[in-house]
Structure formats: structure tokens, C-alpha cells
Symmetry: C2
Subunit: 467 residues, 2 copies
């Protein structure tokens, strides 16, 4: 044991400091196995005071801090790089719900709380915490905030940033920034919490957050719709938003190709027998029992059919049918690995530019290599697409994976041409660092570096990520 | 003319650079006449390129930049201090609407656009830009963003920050930070726009913004309610939010004392004949014609009466009656100066703490001086109160004004004890700088200074404000 390791062990106790390689192994690589890093240990602070003391200890010994939640990220932000001085700081022991106030519609949680546990606590108080994404059973709120997580309810409730009223953060000098106040309005100087949300652990260590709650949803209306043409998607969105009194929570694009894969690999059947290229999974939700959200959505879809935007559609008649529709989307995601390797992109463009972007990007890919198979789906209501490129059928997966840089550049250049973002909700981490440096303006990069320098002058937090 | 003045005049032309004292006079004091400053001139750039060149010129000559919009602020942030090197940079010539995209629900505006003009442009495209406040006919969006303005629709749509998708900002080195992208999701590094929103012009010069639009409202329901007890306000809020499917846009507190003043000074009559101490003005809005928002609100209020939270209430039956209810609120604000001097506070506490705060603050004031007359009203749905203390009846206004510091401390200490904010929506500017320094933690102040140092190392922007 080094002097640092001994002092960390003394500070945090046997449950709070691990160096056993077997225990460390799942924490120094990401779950997809893309990033393999190294660490001199893993700290698990049990309180804000322990976390602050740990940060001071790391600073004194020149140890780098890699904040980690559920390690469910897709960009390698929570996984250490190969540097020799990394300490993983896993937040899972700080998992208390400190307070829930149904009248203030706030919940104060520690960074290690599992997202699903926060959802459940809110539901028990007849409230909704709307952040919802595939990893919700294991991801932690500290990670969600550090990546400004999105998910399936952004259209109505916003990203993780929009749901955050306050934070508690350990800064690089070991001081604790307490801006946890659960206020809806506070204009007393710079809104410091904003700096740490989406910073992927590079500016400080989030230890707790004060989050917004909403009235629980009492009615949902869910529809599957076949589009006449992808060009109609933004019009259908506008129609549904207005008709449902802006109570649209999800507006997801599903491609015919993806649904065919889902069917082929044993997923749900397609309840809509239509040869359209593109489908929409639309859900509205209302906290009021006496508002007929289903009738409103049905009328909007009827108008969309009359305007030839929509070719066919069905409304879920029961909770079972609703689940079946959502199951289609999950089955599509699960089917992808069965087709071999895929090169993923998490992009966004202005909502109105979605049709033009999809056309341009698929044409550019086809011109480059007509055997590539784009699988394009996602949160189209937010302008966010998961633009995945599957390997040519039957090709060698490793050989295809090796083409990642080339395919990334092709897709990202098309995103940039459409004023889009190369990371809509997955962050930069290690995965997109080079592309960020390639595509962001020098002014933006310089401003980011100035902020990093101001808040973490010694580069203590999460080296090798983002910048 | 100094060398700087000559070069500024050459850069900006006769319409773009003024030194005439008569022309400057209304721009170097605030409209309430509280802050009188000094300036060597006023620049009015007509384009981002001009603004950037001007910032470089100021940097080279050591001239301080005081960004100014409509100069309607209440904290003196847009008014120069008494320093000898101030240049007012008024943005009114940059007032173009650069783009409006109804399908993307975005509008791109220059900083000098009048708020009401943005609202009108949105309405013409059958969309809503929800930021709305008393000064909307003359305030500019650049100022709204720099103060993170609130107003009467925050409950449903959020503060100015929540309505902002992107910014264009001239930085201290004269470079232009273009993060104008109209994206709903973008997690490519630090969210730089957040740093400048609410920074009151101390970190850079906002030249344009990309803002969110929403479906236009088609139906409104407006009610005036007499509360059995102030303690019931948060319960009524929760009830109304849920029942209206979270379509509550305004939830305003009106005190009996304020309504009496309104009546006395010739404002509207009180359509509700009830001896309650506290009233609520509640408005819900729906973009859907076929959702009966009025019926939902009525049912919620009926349940509130059955639960004895509400003593009496009425629903506006017509647009004329709706205006009459809102007129009550305006008349109350207008009546205040007729009562002599008032010491204003713009505070927030957690919504659930509103009743306890009001009780504690009024008791503390009465114990201090029983002749003080607190007039407490505002956006209680956001936990935001305008807590104004009117002079004792018949007292000397100037003598009362001289007690500002003493009254401020009394109210602000009570706010702090309730985990509140001493500036909910009016900002810090010059008005609250000392109180900010007194009440914020050293960690918070140090972090703010680090950010200021990082983005404006020479202190070019808006000296003497906020920090």
C-alpha cells in the first residue's frame, strides 16, 4: 500500500476503500467493454464529509478522481483512462433520500441513489419524477446529472438539467459547494449548479441534488402511427402537441427496418399492417382524471390522416396493448447485436430538420458503401436520433468495427451540416473527445478550457474526459 | 473627444456612438431614480461584428462595458456606476428577429428585441413565447436573459433560462461565442450559454438568443379565490396543478391590504365580497380547444372549498371579467406610491414554506416597529413574493427610505432562515450586492469569483455589479 492508499483506507474504512483487483475489475471498464482503464483503488464515501476529505487527500497526493455512478454510460465518462494515478470514486453508498416535500414538489437525494428508487419514492408520494431511460434500474442520479441525461420524457419535462433545482458538490479544493436550495426562482448571482450538470465529473464531485417533482400521471394515451412520409413527422408532432394541450411525453421514431429486425429476432409482432417506411410511437399523459387525453390524441391523429400526413394508426386500448407497443421499441434495440457489429451515434438536429437530415445522411452512407445498414430511431420529438449503422449482412464484425472513425466522421459531418449535435444525450466522455475537438469552434473550446482551469486548476477531476 | 471616443465614433457611425449629455442622461440612471452613474458615452452597435469590434476597442483602451437593454431593471444592473471609465452599450439597434421556425418551435432574436415584439411574432405564427412581465412593452430580451427574468407564467413555462436554447455572446477578448443552435438536446461539453444567463452582463455581452416557442393557448380559465387561511395556499396549488393537467400558468397571491389600497386609489372593485386576509388569482391555459380547462379548474376549486381550504371563489365568465381580475393586481401595484415610500424585496422560499415565512416575517416586522405596513403579494406558485414594506401612514418618506438597510436585513434574515433567496427574479445589480456578500457562503462567493476571473480576467464587463 502506498501512503495515499493507507490514508484513504483509514479515512473510509474497509467498506469505503477497495484495492482488490477482482473487486475493481468491473469498475475500470465500461459495461460494453469498449474502454479498459486502470485505477489504484476504488473509494466509496458514505457521506459528504467523507467525500470532501477524500478530495483533499487526493489533491495532496496528486491522485486523479474518476467519479462513478452505476457505470452505465455509453461514452466512457465514468470509466478511468489508462493513467497510473486514477482513483475511482463510486457513489453507491451515498444513496439516501434526504427529503421529499410533496407540497414544494421537491426531492433531495444523494448522488448514489438509483434512478428507479427516486421514481418509486416520488410515486409513493403521488408525484412523478419524470426522468426515465433504459438503465434506470441501475444508473445513479449523480451520473444522470453529470451527463445531463435525456430519455423518453424529455419532450414534456426536459433533460436532467431542467429537473434540477440545486446541487451539493465537492470542489477541487475540497470545499463543499452547497446550493441545494429547492427554489423555483433564485437570481442571486451566477447559477453555479449549471456548471456541474453535464460536465461529466470533470469540474467537481456531485454528492447530492434537489430535484423537481410533478403531479403523478393518471391517464395515458399511446398510439402507433404509420407515416406517409418522414417529411410529415414534424407536422404530426406540432398537431399532437397542440391537441393534447402540450401533454405529449414521448414521440419516438421507429423505422420499418428496425421493426423487421425486432420481429425476426423474436420480439413483438407489429400490430399495424402497413408498408410504411417510418412509424411513430406517441404517448401523451395527463395528471387529471377528467381530461380526455385519449380523445384529444385521437382527434389529432384523425386530422393528420385527413391531411395525408398519417397513413394508418392505432390507439392502445388497454395497458397491456400499451406495453406491447413500447415492447416493440425495446425489441428493436435488443435485436441489433444479433445482426453483428453496429456503429452508434447519438445525434440531434433541429426538429424541423429531421426529414432533411435523415435523407442526407442515408444518401451519404449509401454513396459511401451501399451495403451499410442504417438503423435510425429515437426521440424524434426532441430532434434526437440514435443513428446506428449496422454492419453489412454477413460481414466480419471486427473488420466493420475498425471502420468506426470513418463512419463517425461521415455521420457527424452530416449532423454538423444540419446545425446539429454529435452527442444529444450520451455525453462526450472518452468516446467523442476527438470528434469534439475536430468539430467545435476554437472559441467554444477555449471557453470550456477557461472554465475547467477556473474550477479545477490542477486537473484533479476525471482526466482524459470531454476536453 | 478622447482617442477612444474618436475610434468608437468611427467604428459605429453617428447613430452608433453618442456623447451628448442630454442623450446620455436617461441611460446613466435607472428609471426609479435610485442609481445615478456616469459614462463617457453610449455605444449602439448595429451588428454582432460591430459589437465584437467595440469590445476589442474597449479592452485595448481599458474602458468598462455596461450592457444595457430597456433599462427597466429594478436592481441597477443596467445602469453604470459612478466610475469614470464606463461605456453604456445599449442594444436597441440590434432588434431583428433573425428566424422563426414554427415546426422546430424556435425563434432566433437579437438582444435588442423588445419582449412584446417577440411575443407578437410568436403569436403571428400561432405560437406562444411565454415570458411575460410588467415591463414587456419596453424591456429587451438581452436584459431579460441577463437577469434570468421571471414574470407571471413561470409556473408552467419556467424562467428566461428555461426558455433559452442558445446564445450568441461577445466575450471579453472580443471573440464571438456562437452557441445559438436551436437544439432540445445537446450534451457536447459544458453548456456555455448557462454561464451568461442571469450573469447581469458581468461575463460577456449577449447579442442574440435562440428561444423556445410553445403551442398558442386557445382557452384560459381564471379564478379569484378567498383563502380560509394562508396555510392552505400550497394545498390549493397542488390541487389545481393536478386537476388542470399541470396547465396552471399563474398562481398569484393578493393580500386584503393590497386590494383595499387598490380600491381606495381608484382601481377596480373587488368582485368577491369576502373578509379573507388572502386571495389567490389563478389562471390555467390550454392550447387545445377541446380540453375543458375551465371545468377542471372549477372542480379543483370546489374540492378546495369542500376541504375548507377555500372560503369563496369565482371563475371569470368572460374575457372582460378576466381582465378585470388581472386589473386588480395591477391596480394594487400602482397604488403603492400613493401611500408614500416603500422598501421592496423580491424574495423566494420553498413553496411549502410560504405560510410559515409570511407569518414569521410579518411578526418580526411588527415586533420591530408595529407601524410598518407590509404589502405582500406575488408569484406564490413559484414561492416568489414581492415583500414590500410601506412606510407608516403619514410618516416622512425620506426618513423612511433612510431605514432601507435596517428593513432589508430584517426581511432577508427571515428569508435566509427559511432557506430562501433574497433575489428571486430581479437580480443583484448594485441594489443587493452588499446583502449578497453578507449572506452567501464563502464557498459560493469564491466559486463565482473564479468564474468571473476565468471569463473576464480584466474586469471589462459591468464593474460594480453582482460581485
Amino acid at each position: 500500500m502506498t501512503a495515499f492508499q493507507e490514508q484513504a483506507a483509514a479515512l473510509l474504512g474497509p467498506k469505503g476503500f477497495l484495492t482488490d483487483p477482482a473487486a475493481l475489475a468491473p469498475h475500470i471498464r465500461d459495461w460494453r467493454g469498449i474502454f479498459q482503464g486502470a485505477a489504484i483503488g476504488m473509494a466509496l464515501p458514505a457521506s459528504t464529509a467523507e467525500a470532501a476529505a477524500l478530495v483533499r487527500l487526493c489533491r495532496d497526493h496528486g491522485i486523479s478522481i474518476v467519479p462513478q455512478g452505476g457505470n452505465t454510460g455509453l461514452s466512457g465518462a465514468a470509466t478511468p483512462d489508462a493513467g497510473g494515478n486514477n482513483l475511482v470514486v463510486n457513489m453507491r453508498r451515498m444513496n439516501r433520500i434526504r427529503a421529499l416535500d410533496p407540497l414544494n414538489n421537491t426531492i433531495v437525494v444523494e448522488a448514489g441513489c438509483i434512478l428507479a428508487d427516486i421514481q418509486s419514492a416520488a410515486a409513493q408520494a403521488d408525484r412523478l419524477f419524470p426522468l426515465s431511460l433504459a438503465a434506470e434500474g441501475s444508473c445513479q442520479i449523480g451520473g444522470n446529472l453529470s451527463t445531463n441525461a435525456g430519455g423518453i420524457n424529455v419532450l414534456r419535462y426536459g433533460n436532467a438539467r431542467d429537473l434540477t433545482l440545486g446541487l451539493e458538490v465537492v470542489l477541487a479544493d475540497g470545499s463543499v459547494l452547497d446550493v441545494l436550495g429547492g427554489l423555483r426562482k433564485d437570481n442571486t448571482g451566477y447559477d453555479l449548479k449549471q456548471f456541474f450538470i453535464g460536465a461529466e465529473g470533470t469540474l467537481g464531485l456531485i454528492t447530492a441534488a434537489s430535484l423537481k417533482l410533478f403531479p403523478a400521471l393518471r391517464r395515458r394515451a399511446t398510439a402507433l402511427v404509420a407515416l406517409g412520409d418522414i417529411a410529415a413527422a414534424p407536422m404530426v408532432l406540432a398537431r399532437c402537441r397542440a391537441a393534447t394541450a402540450d401533454q405529449l411525453v414521448s414521440f419516438e421514431l421507429l423505422p420499418r427496418f428496425g421493426l423487421a429486425l425486432a420481429r425476426q429476432h423474436g420480439g413483438g409482432r407489429l400490430p399495424l399492417d402497413h408498408p410504411a417506411d417510418w412509424f411513430l410511437l406517441i404517448e401523451a399523459g395527463s395528471p387529471s382524471e377528467d381530461i380526455d387525453i385519449s380523445g384529444s390524441l385521437e382527434r389529432a391523429l384523425g386530422e393528420g390522416m385527413a391531411a395525408a400526413e398519417i397513413a394508418d394508426g392505432l390507439l392502445a386500448e388497454s395497458e397491456a396493448q400499451r406495453r406491447e407497443l413500447w415492447r416493440l421499441r425495446e425489441a428493436m434495440v435488443e435485436a441489433q447485436p444479433r445482426e453483428g457489429a453496429g456503429i452508434k451515434h447519438d445525434i440531434s438536429v433541429p426538429v424541423a430538420a429531421i426529414p432533411a437530415f435523415i435523407r442526407a445522411a442515408t444518401e451519404a452512407l449509401a454513396a459511401h458503401d451501399s451495403s451499410l445498414r442504417p438503423l435510425i430511431f429515437g426521440h424524434v420529438g426532441d430532434g434526437n436520433l440514435h443513428f446506428n449503422v449496422l454492419q453489412p449482412a454477413g460481414a466480419d464484425p471486427a473488420g466493420f468495427q475498425a471502420r468506426t472513425g470513418e463512419i463517425n466522421r461521415l455521420v457527424h459531418d452530416c449532423v454538423t451540416a444540419h446545425q446539429g449535435s454529435i452527442s444529444a444525450e450520451h455525453g462526450i466522455g472518452q468516446l467523442r473527445r476527438e470528434e469534439l475537438a475536430r468539430l467545435k469552434s476554437p472559441v467554444v473550446l477555449a471557453a470550456m478550457r477557461a472554465v475547467k482551469q477556473a474550477l479545477d486548476p490542477d486537473g484533479l477531476f476525471n482526466p482524459g474526459k470531454v476536453l
